[in-house]
Symmetry: C2
């Protein structure tokens, strides 16, 4: 069970990559180690790595290695995300795909090939770094295809599947022994928006584990209400959905992002404890990576308000109460948490749409109601009669909606 | 009379700013000096200077100073352009105004204020560098408001005028003795497209001199034909138009960009000689800045074909025949070129639209026809009866279309 943080540099946010200061990064990582994290997920910026289609900057790649090595020296594992891409409401795209040179990043062959060159370069650069425990195609890359995006790059589900598949191959080129966990990531539109070209089958079939990003500020808080105590079950719901969509009920799920956005999540330390309590004993869980290490400085404008206070550590470098809560949970994980198999499972009626699985639908309401009584999984209706599946999944008790 | 080049780094094009190598820049500038140029115009990149709205990177500003000082040590003057912005078909915009964070760069007060902070910072940083002979708001900033731009930021002419006026004030904040030439720049849509929010009165009223960018690959070559010998008069036509639009007929005009795009311009060295012959004796001319110093490497993809071969020096650092022609013309300038006042002037009929002044219209055709016989200026119809204006302009002979 992996337990770590998404690393946001304390000084300069991700703009810190422009002028990487190893001493400042080291100080940040020392603080992360002090919280009991065993890994960090890091986010280099695409325009800095690849300012022209055929120009991958050696120094930018070296900067990634510098952060990897600083983490490795401290005993931290590292997950390197490739294409950022999208971070906290900001999009980082190189000039050769934007504005006057606009090109579809999902469908134009030479653009896609260039991205794969970058991923291969990164993957091979870190291949001799055992600290690197994983790689992600990029952070929520599908956001660029989102219907709501003002300047989206349209992609069909088939195109998205091809894009992700090839990108995962590129990442594995630097990992011939398949020692690392290689994944892609996406926001919860993949689970809840019927129009989202990243589909649940992409989530559960591509990559070594299924990732979920649990953010309550959207649908969940709109449905349950701000700071509602049941919001702490949302992460476990996403994990269970990820299990249910997979043909292999034992495929692992990585809670790759979860944070305590204000005011949606309510009191942050309490939200962290209760959210993790709800999910840590889930046998499906590969690991948890909290968002995020450090608060964003109010000196940096233009973020949504909620983005400023997501850190475990404040802008002065002081651990916040939620950081102490994170450390306490980490101590319990190291002592060992007994898995509690989800032997009970709610059946998702066949034909339920993604939209109908979202908070606001009867499925979510019923699941939360059951979940408050104890652990409960989810099973797709068309598998509810499949005895082999149920045995493999460890499900003995089906509950109808 | 200033005679210089727009400086395009030989290695890495403008991406060279990411990893500025003073030795490489020095080598490039030595080659520019060897061509007899007396100045360079340089183009730092906005996203590198100001990655967040309130974050101006000291190192990026220092990089500008490094290039300024390397040029100054070689006796070159430097013109620093602030907001790039647009360069050779690529747009460089920071993440805080693009995509999901899209904000209008011309009209949103805090965005505009941030741009002015950057311009002020640059202007003040170079204030103790006598090598800096000028500053430009940015390279063809109006392109972002162009109707043809796929993701334009709309601005009315009034908004554009306010934007430019305030930005020029910001640039002058670093030049209290007004020693530098402070200007804005734009493409020829300002002269030829009725919809262009950068208007001729912005061109001729704002900034210390009027700039013109002379590119024949568009309207001129489409009208006259590729490689037509009369294309060599196009720069002089633009200079004359800039003179005609100004209430002050003695306002100077800077031919800030002129290049020999292939195949439109025909044989490059010949095009350079003939274009400069046509304009260098124009008393209105403040100076000429050729586009550009160095060819773009074919290793960098995605440019329009014409962009690769605009240099005076090739990608190996060897001076091209057009570079030798540039040097010859420079030697003649240093010997002194006798100005030839444009005592004859074609009258632009009152009510002529910008579109009607473009190549393709009768005005341009008639002017070219006259120009082949000898120097000829342009006078606005509503000034053709203004004796004071004509005396001031040195016009003694009006020609009706």
């Amino acid at each position: 069970m992996r337990y770590g943080v998404n690393y946001v540099p304390r000084r300069g946010w991700f703009h810190a990559w422009h002028d990487l200061d190893p001493a400042e990064i080291a100080e940040d990582l020392d603080a992360v180690v002090a919280l009991g994290a065993d890994h960090v997920r890091i986010f280099p910026l695409w325009p800095l790595l690849q300012p022209a289609r055929t120009l991958i900057r050696p120094r930018a790649v070296q900067d990634v290695l510098t952060v990897v090595d600083l983490a490795g020296e401290r005993g931290l594992g590292v997950v390197v995300d490739g294409l950022q891409g999208h971070l906290s409401g900001f999009d980082f795209l190189p000039t050769w795909v934007t504005q006057w040179r606009r090109r579809n990043i999902f469908t134009e062959p030479d653009v896609v090939e260039a991205q794969r060159q970058l991923l291969t370069t990164l993957a091979e650069a870190v291949s001799d770094r055992p600290a690197v425990i994983g790689m992600t195609v990029g952070n929520e890359t599908g956001q660029f295809a989102g219907e709501w995006h003002p300047e989206r790059y349209p992609a069909t589900p088939a195109q998205m599947g091809e894009w992700l598949t090839g990108h995962l191959v590129a990442l594995r080129s630097g990992d011939p022994g398949l020692q690392r966990v290689t994944v892609h990531s996406f926001d919860d539109d993949a689970w809840f928006a019927d129009s989202c070209p990243v589909r649940p089958d992409h989530a559960t079939a591509l990559g070594d584990v299924t990732t979920v990003h649990s953010w309550v500020f959207g649908r969940a808080a709109a449905t349950l209400g701000e700071a509602h105590p049941d919001l702490a079950y949302f992460a476990d719901y996403l994990v269970q959905l990820a299990v249910a969509w997979s043909p292999d009920p034992n495929r692992k799920v990585w809670l790759q992002e979860i944070g305590a956005p204000q005011p949606s999540a309510g009191e942050p330390a309490d939200f962290l404890r209760r959210s993790l309590d709800a999910v840590l004993d889930n046998p499906a869980l590969w690991g948890v990576t909290w968002w995020c290490s450090h608060d964003v400085s109010p000196d940096l404008p233009d973020f949504r308000p909620l983005e400023y206070t997501l850190g475990l550590i404040d802008t002065e470098g002081v651990t916040k109460p939620i950081g102490e809560a994170f450390a306490e949970v980490g101590a319990r994980i190291r002592e060992g948490i007994e898995p509690r198999p989800r032997t009970r499972a709610l059946v998702i009626p066949t034909g339920t749409t993604r939209q109908e699985m979202a908070p606001g639908g009867t499925l979510f309401a019923r699941w939360v109601s059951e979940r408050k009584e104890g652990p409960i999984g989810l099973v797709m209706g068309d598998r509810a009669g499949d005895a082999t599946y149920l045995v493999t999944a460890g499900v003995t008790d089906l509950v109808e909606v």
